[in-house]
């Protein structure tokens, strides 16, 4: 049995399936722990969060070939902050997706936060603290409304956040009257532009967020319960975990991350206008998906998501750097996301033959695959 398993390493059978089979055949067999250690390494390679690592590494390796300037210091220093900001926003999206949601209020929240943080201080550092407080208040309120609609009104997250996004756009029109030329306070600008020990602050903050969230999820009681609720909320409910409170908290935390991203964005771009957040909805979802999370919810990795964000921005940079127009940019993005998803599903859902089988026998079997 064990030898067979060792042979299976290259056989493409997933670790879990294989173990399950071994068990059925030999229920009494005790597995020794060293097999487990190797199994863990193999499981890590098979993890859905793994492929984004080599993919990102490969992208950076070929970048100089595609677009010679794209790895230069000036090119990097102009793209890296955007990647960092997208990564922070995508961390919020990851949390929502982990709880089987999808957050469409990203653009509204980011736009609103950029406006609040630039408008109220009036370009002066003195007003910055109260503006930050206001942003935090707005984020908590947004999260609470989202959570209320989802947990109390029973509205699907997709629709609830779509409605809340409209409400946020309303607030934006209300407080700006339809135009905004406000500029960020100087210390916000320097926060976004400066480097500490040679590393851009935005990167430090993004890395801090990712590491903190990752550790939080793994080691704190609240984080662990959050993961438990996301994995199987009916079981969590049976186990006595207040599921609704966690879902509620998810939307609040997510809104806070969008706002953090927005504050850095405002500092970085200067005059953010009214719709700075529009560019963050689809990319935030894409980054989560590239990072290996499934839209069916449950699992997710903020580290994977952050890499997904880096990958997406670098891909953009490469295509631009190669002199290709936006149109090609879009087509390449679509191709990359589509093939990444297709490959992952083929990996997870056995193999290509099944896909071909489905194609040939359309309608014979209802597909029961993961709704990603």
């Amino acid at each position: 049995m064990r030898r067979m398993r060792a042979h299976c390493v290259h056989g493409g059978t997933s670790m879990s399936v294989e173990q399950g089979r071994g068990r059925v055949g030999a229920p009494g067999e005790a597995l020794s722990w060293h097999v487990g250690a190797r199994g863990r390494a193999r499981a890590a390679l098979r993890s859905p969060y793994f492929p984004i690592w080599p993919a990102t590494a490969l992208l950076f390796l070929v970048s100089p070939l595609i677009a010679p300037g794209s790895m230069g210091t000036s090119a990097l220093s102009s793209t890296v902050p955007f990647a960092a900001i997208l990564a922070i926003a995508s961390v919020g999206q990851t949390l929502v997706i982990q709880q089987r949601g999808l957050d469409l209020s990203v653009p509204g929240m980011i736009s609103l936060a950029t406006i609040v943080i630039t408008k109220y201080p009036g370009g002066l550092d003195s007003g910055l603290a109260s503006a930050v407080a206001l942003v935090v208040g707005a984020s908590v309120a947004t999260g609470v409304v989202n959570g209320f609609a989802v947990t109390r009104l029973g509205v699907t997250p997709l629709i609830a956040t779509l409605g809340v996004n409209a409400l946020l756009l309303g607030v934006i029109l209300q407080i700006t009257g339809g135009s905004s030329t406000a500029v960020p306070a100087p210390s916000l600008v320097s926060l976004a532009f400066d480097k500490t020990a040679g590393i851009p602050n935005t990167v430090i903050i993004a890395a801090g967020v990712v590491v903190a969230v990752s550790l939080f999820m793994r080691h704190t009681v609240i984080g662990r319960r959050f993961v438990i609720v996301g994995t199987n909320s009916p079981a969590a409910y049976v186990a006595g975990i207040p599921v609704r409170t966690y879902v509620w908290g998810t939307y609040v935390a997510a809104a806070l991350f969008y706002s953090l991203a927005a504050v850095l964005l405002a500092g970085y771009v200067g005059t953010p206008g009214l719709s700075a957040g529009n560019d963050y909805l689809l990319p935030s979802i894409t980054a989560v998906v590239l990072g290996g999370a499934s839209l069916a919810g449950g699992a997710g990795s903020v580290v994977g998501t952050a890499l997904g964000a880096v990958f997406l921005i670098q891909l953009q940079q490469d295509v631009f750097g190669a002199g290709a127009p936006t149109s090609v940019q879009y087509l390449i993005q679509a191709g990359v996301i589509g093939s990444a998803m297709a490959l992952r599903n083929l990996r997870a859902g056995s193999d290509l033959r099944h896909a071909v089988g489905r194609l040939l026998h359309r309608g014979r079997l209802p597909a029961t695959g993961p709704a990603t």
Partner: protein, 841 residues
């Protein structure tokens, strides 16, 4: 008695053998039913009744043996083949399509050419229902029927097929006495027509009333076939029980001479399926809840666990316990171990360690942080103590065998120091070796002074394990067995001879006054949102007109209606896929791409010929987009959101590729042509109205419409009743794309130039309009008129806010509020309807 296989038998199973992973479920069973006969099939849970009938219905392939229906052999194990040979099964859990009407569910049973014309359908359906004694409204949504009516509907479906062989699997389990009487009368009528009936039941009194012959299965073989009026109850019972005890059980403690004061007392329990139940557990006791499945045992456990509402007193060690929520039950020391291990027990994707410590994270933590080493040590101790076989502590728990998963659940619960253990089917899906250990652990828990209550459908298990057994029937305890009385025979005997009747639930919606009922039915229908939205639209228009008498009948109205029709086409497209429980984000970019395409063909010189060519090309692109979306969703199994996000991005790319900058003015003759109006009403608006009306009619009158809603309602059930799932979804995505193209044509006339940046907004707005119009993104529900009106309202809000003197912000506030509140109200109504129908699954 004729030998099995005799020629007047309409169903004849010969020497059926079926093995599941080494376990013999059926070892050479022969069974036949003759024309004009009711043949009852009895046996304990797991005796092989369902397996045998699944083989007969073609749902399972036997290892060996033959199935003959109506004298013809079933060559392939395919349900539709068995059906066309004349066999029809009514399952205990009806496979009714909830979002379809009662009449549509009935129609699905018939081959398309046998379906009655639309006009006579209601009468036809009413007749079919009358036959089974069901007075449900044929136009009611099946999901809103009571459990009993759903059961009757299933039977009516089987009868409408004119089945030669009718298999009824515990048909009266959820019926009241009066309903069961009606059903039994119907079975008599079917028999009189010459059909053969297989009647699976656990209730002897009922079997006595109905059956001509009785076959008893035990452990996968026939333990006897007898004529019903030549056999006594106790003889049948003898045939049912007597399964060898294949298990060794931990020794029971001697019964104390004086009964001990109970440690756990739950008295006067009333609730869902519970009628005045009392359970008490003395120290050291294991109490079993027995009975045929679905008679309140599970509900008693779930109610005590805080998962179901409960009235009654619960005391632990003399202290009252609060069981209003799972959390409060847990605080009181009550822990529930569910029967549905995958759904409610384990956290499948998480590791063994994470599962083991899930309930005690707080105890393992210091300052809110789980102490990692402490946790690992605790988990590893539990793995050893409970002999959990796992590759490592970090293996996902889903990779463990069923028995080891169950041990993880037990180990996890023991770690939390429970006072009361409620164990629902402790050994379901558990291998023999692990079973023994689980029994030992339960006995150990009882010895430690915890109150252990076990619900099980396995009487042998209860006999071996329990110190006291309560036998349930229809929500009541019909017998309490203690000490030497606890035998399989007594348990099964009490369960199958109980004569308790269901009584009608006073909270049943059907007993409500008829007028309110009719209003409630309207409120829950797909039309209600349309009515409400139409009212809001009218009110808004009147309010605007009062303030600005010039509003109605002016150019403002014309341009508003023109814009509304663009959105209406897009949202009707979105609705088509929503009905099929899919989603299309690429609607917006496709609207934009259509504008770009037209800018190449409908050029100033090209006239209407150019327009026609452009529309044709855009239409072809639409078909390709719909097919691509379906390919990504169905074949590559990338979910609808990501699939259509991919096409969304790609279509934007194509638009920009064709027109990097806005260019290519459209011929003004063509654009004014598209924008032509009757007075203030644009022609395209009228077209949109007509499309909405026709599409709604099609949706409800044409078979393809109900097929689409069936697929969206429940793909698996739809497949089972013969809907063509994949072609239906392909058609839905293509139609959606074509409607997006229609929206693009109107938008092109509005902007007059090939602008690549347009259209994307229509993605989310179309979704909002469809949902506002009552569509459910879970599929199966919605109306085109609703989507149309939703679009009109969203556009009206944008156009009238300024007239009404509202700040511009209200252009966003109003839609936002409408979406959130509207979706909230719809969701409430639907869940209310579902809970009224009493379905618990």
């Amino acid at each position: 008695m004729p030998a099995p296989g005799s020629h007047d038998a309409l169903l004849c199973l010969t020497d059926i053998v079926k093995t599941y992973s080494g376990v013999r479920a059926l070892s050479g069973v022969s069974f036949d039913v003759r024309s004009g006969e009711v043949h009852a099939l009895l046996g304990e849970n797991g005796a092989g009744k369902s397996t045998l009938m699944a083989v007969a219905a073609g749902a399972l392939a036997p290892d060996s043996g033959t199935v003959e229906i109506g004298g013809r052999r079933l060559e392939r194990p395919v349900p539709s083949d068995a059906q066309s040979l004349g066999l029809s099964v009514v399952y205990q859990h009806p496979s009714v399509l909830d979002d379809l009407t009662v009449a549509e569910n009935l129609l699905f049973a018939l081959a398309p050419d046998r379906r009655p014309a639309h006009r006579s359908r209601a009468a036809w359906a009413r007749e079919q229902l009358r036959v089974v004694g069901c007075d449900a409204d044929p136009s009611a949504r099946a999901g809103e029927l009571s459990v009993a009516d759903r059961q009757l509907l299933e039977i009516a479906k089987a009868l409408a097929l004119d089945a030669k062989v009718l298999v009824l699997d515990e048909p009266t389990e959820s019926l009241t006495a009066a309903e069961a009487d009606r059903l039994i009368a119907q079975v008599h009528a079917v028999r009189a027509r010459g059909a053969a009936v297989v009647y699976i039941s656990h209730r002897l009194p009922e079997v006595r009333r109905i059956a001509d012959r009785i076959t008893v299965l035990r452990d996968g073989s026939v333990s006897g076939t007898v004529l019903a009026d030549e056999v006594r109850d106790d003889e049948i019972l003898q045939m049912i029980v007597g399964r060898p005890m294949s298990q060794t059980f931990p020794e029971k403690p001697p019964r104390p001479s004086e009964p001990l004061a109970p440690h756990f007392v739950a008295s006067g329990l009333r609730g869902h399926r519970l009628r005045d139940v009392t359970v008490d557990v003395a120290p050291g006791e294991i109490v079993g809840l027995a009975g045929v499945e679905g008679n309140g045992q599970r509900e008693a456990l779930r109610a005590l666990a805080g998962l179901l509402p409960l009235r009654g007193e619960v005391e632990i060690g003399g202290v009252r316990a609060d069981t209003r929520t799972p959390r409060r039950s847990r605080r009181a020391g009550i822990f529930y171990l569910p029967h549905d291990r995958h759904g409610e027990g384990i956290f499948g994707a998480l590791s063994v360690r994470e599962n083991l410590t899930a309930l005690v994270l707080r105890e393992l933590a210091r300052g809110g942080t789980v102490r990692s080493r402490h946790e690992t040590r605790t988990a590893s101790t539990q793995v050893d103590a409970f002999a959990v076989k796992t590759a490592s502590l970090e293996s996902p728990v889903s990779t463990l065998s069923g028995g080891n998963q169950q041990k993880v659940v037990i180990a996890r619960t023991f770690l939390a120091r429970p006072k009361v253990l409620l164990f629902d089917e402790p050994t379901r899906g558990v291998d023999v070796g692990a079973r023994m250990e689980i029994y030992r652990l339960l006995r150990q828990a009882a010895d430690e002074g915890r109150s252990v209550i076990v619900a099980s459908s396995d009487a042998v298990e209860l006999e071996g394990l329990c110190d006291k057994v309560l036998v349930f029937s229809r929500g009541q305890v019909v017998r309490v067995l203690t000490g030497p009385e606890i035998t399989e025979s007594n348990i099964t005997g009490a369960a199958i001879t109980a004569t308790v009747e269901h009584t009608a639930d006073p909270s049943d919606a059907r007993s409500a006054r008829p007028r309110r009922r009719r209003f409630a039915a309207f409120a829950r229908s797909d039309l209600a949102p349309s009515g409400v939205i139409a009212l809001i639209i009218a009110a808004l228009a009147v309010a605007t007109d009062v303030g600005h008498p010039l509003f109605l009948g002016t150019r403002d109205v014309t341009s508003m209606l023109l814009l509304a029709s663009i959105l209406a086409f897009a949202s009707m497209g979105q609705l088509v896929v929503l009905l099929g429980a899919s989603l299309d984000l690429s609607v917006g970019p496709l609207v934009g791409l259509t504008v770009v395409i037209l800018s190449f063909f409908a050029t100033p010189g090209a006239g209407y010929g150019g327009l026609a060519l452009g529309v044709l090309v855009a239409g072809a692109v639409g078909v390709a987009v719909g097919a691509t979306n379906t390919f990504l969703i169905r074949t590559l199994r990338i979910g609808p959101v990501i699939s259509t996000l991919v096409t969304y991005i790609a279509l934007q790319g194509v638009s920009l590729l064709l027109r990097p900058q806005p260019a290519g003015p459209l011929g003004s003759g063509v654009t004014t042509g598209i924008q032509q109006a009757f007075g203030p009403i644009p022609v395209v608006f009228v077209v949109a109205v007509v499309v909405a009306l026709v599409a709604d009619r099609f949706l409800h009158r044409h078979h393809l419409g109900s097929e689409l809603r069936a697929v969206g309602s429940d793909e698996v059930r739809a497949f089972r009743v013969g809907a063509r799932v994949a072609p239906t979804l392909l058609a839905a995505h293509v139609v959606c794309a074509l409607l997006a193209v229609a929206a693009g044509v109107v938008l092109a006339s509005q902007v007059g130039i090939g602008d690549p940046s347009l259209g994307t907004d229509y993605t989310l707005t179309s979704l909002a309009a469809a949902v506002l119009g009552g569509a459910s993104i879970f599929g199966g529900r919605g109306s085109f008129v609703g989507a149309f009106l939703g679009a009109l309202l969203l556009q009206e809000v944008i156009n009238t806010t300024t007239f009404l003197g509202l700040a511009q912000a209200w252009q966003e506030y109003l839609p936002g509020l409408l979406i959130v509140l509207g979706a909230g109200v719809y969701s409430r109504m639907r869940s209310a309807a579902v809970s009224r129908s009493g379905s618990t699954t």
